[in-house]
């Protein structure tokens, strides 16, 4: 079985958003770039699955659509334990564009189990995984909180709105991972970091695709009015305010 993880290269989650060029571009000054947290959990789970020989996983590949500056993040994924990496050399303009690029690559490079994170920490579209599956006419399972392999069968647990379900799927399948799929993201060991330098990172030319959406500009949220402080021995007053001023209870 071959596993693919679609990675997004995103600003560290502690980043405060700032914009430049009349608020049309994200200010990348001093930004730490990381593997999108959900993608990192999916990668962790893939490595856990591979470590059990009974699962017969030949290979874990990570793929991204991005420019050269995404490579350190790809190397990090290789250091954690992916076997090889593919970078489709294009600026990721929207989810449709990204999914179409990956789908095109997969037509000649098939995989069995494809992971996506449930959303990316930048544009929060929750979209690439589902789009990819539709482009390839293969099943997708979303909000996945566990993946196991039993006798070559992929068993998936997903959240539905109001519960959980176990789903088995024909392969290939796109599993869209959320929290729970792995406990904690795996951290690269020194040996992994050394080995990552020698692992293949293939750069592929993009195909011509037109994005369906475009960002005009960004806005920062309005600052909130200051917090109204209530004395700790006067919680009654808080309840009164919630009831009569905010009218929320």
């Amino acid at each position: 079985m071959k596993i693919l993880i679609c990675l997004s290269n995103v600003p560290d989650t502690t980043t405060k958003a700032k914009f430049v060029n009349d608020n049309t571009a994200f200010d990348t000054t001093g930004i730490q770039w990381i593997i999108n947290p959900w993608d990192e959990l999916a990668l962790t789970r893939a490595i856990e699955l591979k470590s059990d020989a009974a699962n017969s996983i030949e290979n874990i590949t990570v793929i991204t659509v991005g420019e050269k500056d995404a490579e350190p993040t790809m190397r990090k994924a290789l250091a954690i334990g992916a076997d090889d990496a593919v970078r489709i050399d294009a600026e990721p303009t929207d989810a449709y564009f990204v999914a179409a690029q990956i789908a095109e690559y997969l037509k000649s490079n098939p995989f069995d189990l494809i992971f996506n994170g449930i959303e990316s920490a930048d544009y929060n579209g929750s979209a690439v995984g589902g789009m990819l599956a539709e482009f390839l006419n293969i099943p997708s399972v979303s909000a996945v909180s566990a993946v196991n392999i039993e006798n070559g069968q992929v068993k998936i647990k997903r959240d539905i709105d109001g519960g959980t379900e176990e789903v088995s799927s024909e392969l290939p399948v796109v599993a869209i991972a959320q929290k729970g799929i792995a406990k904690e993201p795996m951290i690269a060991a020194m040996r992994g970091i050394m080995m990552a330098r020698k692992k293949p990172l293939n750069v592929v030319a993009p195909v011509e695709i037109e994005a369906l959406t475009g960002i005009v500009n960004f806005e920062l949220p309005q600052p909130k009015p200051p917090c109204k402080m209530i004395e700790p021995d006067n919680v009654k007053e808080l309840v009164n305010l919630l009831q009569n001023e905010a009218k929320v209870i």
Binding site: A121, A127, E165, L238, V248
Partner: protein, 321 residues
């Protein structure tokens, strides 16, 4: 031509979200001067379907087929696409919940329709079709243009003030073409959460952080939640420590919620936590540290120990009733 809205039911009943969706769709239909068509998949009785008319649906299409008992993303996408085609949908509205997030991207490819995910307002303009949405997990917003002929929007839960506008829509049943090769997944072992208010649906959420000191100290959180009809939640360190299940983790990498009232007890308010709760309409913070960032996001604050403040809070709510 129409605005098509995909509604969801649970055991044959619509949830509030479906009415929000229909109301939102009807406002866009009004802007475009076209009809609002609501699609329901599942076994829903006529009386219940009619309720969608209370939020200005002009027409209701009901698909009831045993093959669609469980959510298969590929099959559901095909059904929505068939209805979209039949009704000449210009805009498709879907919930930004687990089901919606699973279906909308597939539909985007199927209809070659640009996707605006997680909107909370009506489009800012129709030509170009411009929407306003959160990016960077709520740390910023963007104005996004959808360039395709058909547009898909997913609406964030509890974000749109919906209103009644009673119409008497025609109800039409529709038999979609469902070839076997659409069904590649099999569902087993369905576990429904019962008796508990779902975090994502809750109008009030009581949430605890590291300041609660131990998972054993959770009973005041639960008691307050019970009294207020609220769901319980927690910050990331709490779920990482295993004090509470990961389903309760609220924040950038956990659940993103927008209740009317969010009570943060012993949560300092790391930027990732705030990203998950900042859309709440009212935030109450209880923390011993007066410099905790949660107070910058909060509407009401108490500097104090949760071990003392929460029991007083419970008492005050009891007296209120």
């Amino acid at each position: 031509m129409s605005v098509l809205v995909f509604t969801e039911n649970w055991d044959g009943k619509f949830k509030k979200m479906s009415f929000e969706l229909v109301s939102y769709a009807s406002k866009i239909a009004e802007m475009l001067n076209i009809q609002t068509v609501a699609l329901s998949i599942g076994d829903v009785q006529e009386d219940e379907l009619k309720k969608l008319g209370n939020y200005a649906a002009d027409k209701i299409i009901s698909v009831n087929n045993d093959k669609l008992k469980n959510l298969d993303n590929q099959a559901y996408t095909s059904v929505i696409a068939q209805v979209a085609e039949k009704e000449g949908a210009k805009v498709v509205i879907i919930a930004h919940n687990n089901t919606g997030k699973a279906l909308a991207p597939r539909l985007s490819v199927k209809l070659k329709a640009g996707l605006g995910a997680g909107v909370s307002k009506l489009p800012l303009s129709l030509d170009p079709f411009t929407i306003f949405k959160k990016v960077y997990s709520g740390k910023a917003y963007s104005n996004l243009v959808i360039k395709s002929d058909i547009k898909i929007l997913t609406l964030a839960q509890n974000s749109f003030e919906f209103e009644e506008n009673i119409k008497s829509p025609a109800i039409e049943s529709f038999e979609p073409a469902l070839s076997d090769d659409l069904f590649k997944t099999t569902v087993s072992n369905v576990q429904k959460q019962t008796g508990k208010i779902l975090l994502i649906d809750a109008e009030i959420v009581v949430s605890g952080g590291r300041g609660m000191k131990s998972g054993d100290n959770w009973s005041p959180i639960e008691e307050l939640a019970d009294l207020l009809g609220a769901a319980t939640a927690c910050s990331r360190p709490v779920s990482d420590e295993g004090w509470r299940p990961h389903e309760e983790h609220t924040g950038q990498t956990g659940k993103i919620i927008a209740p009317n009232l969010y009570i943060a007890a012993g949560i300092s308010g790391a930027i990732q936590h705030l990203a998950g709760i900042s859309s709440s309409k009212c935030i109450v913070a209880i923390n011993t540290d007066k410099d905790a960032p949660i107070f910058e996001a909060a509407d009401y604050g108490i500097i104090g120990d949760t071990a003392k403040v929460l029991p007083d809070f419970i008492q005050a709510v009891k007296e209120m009733k």
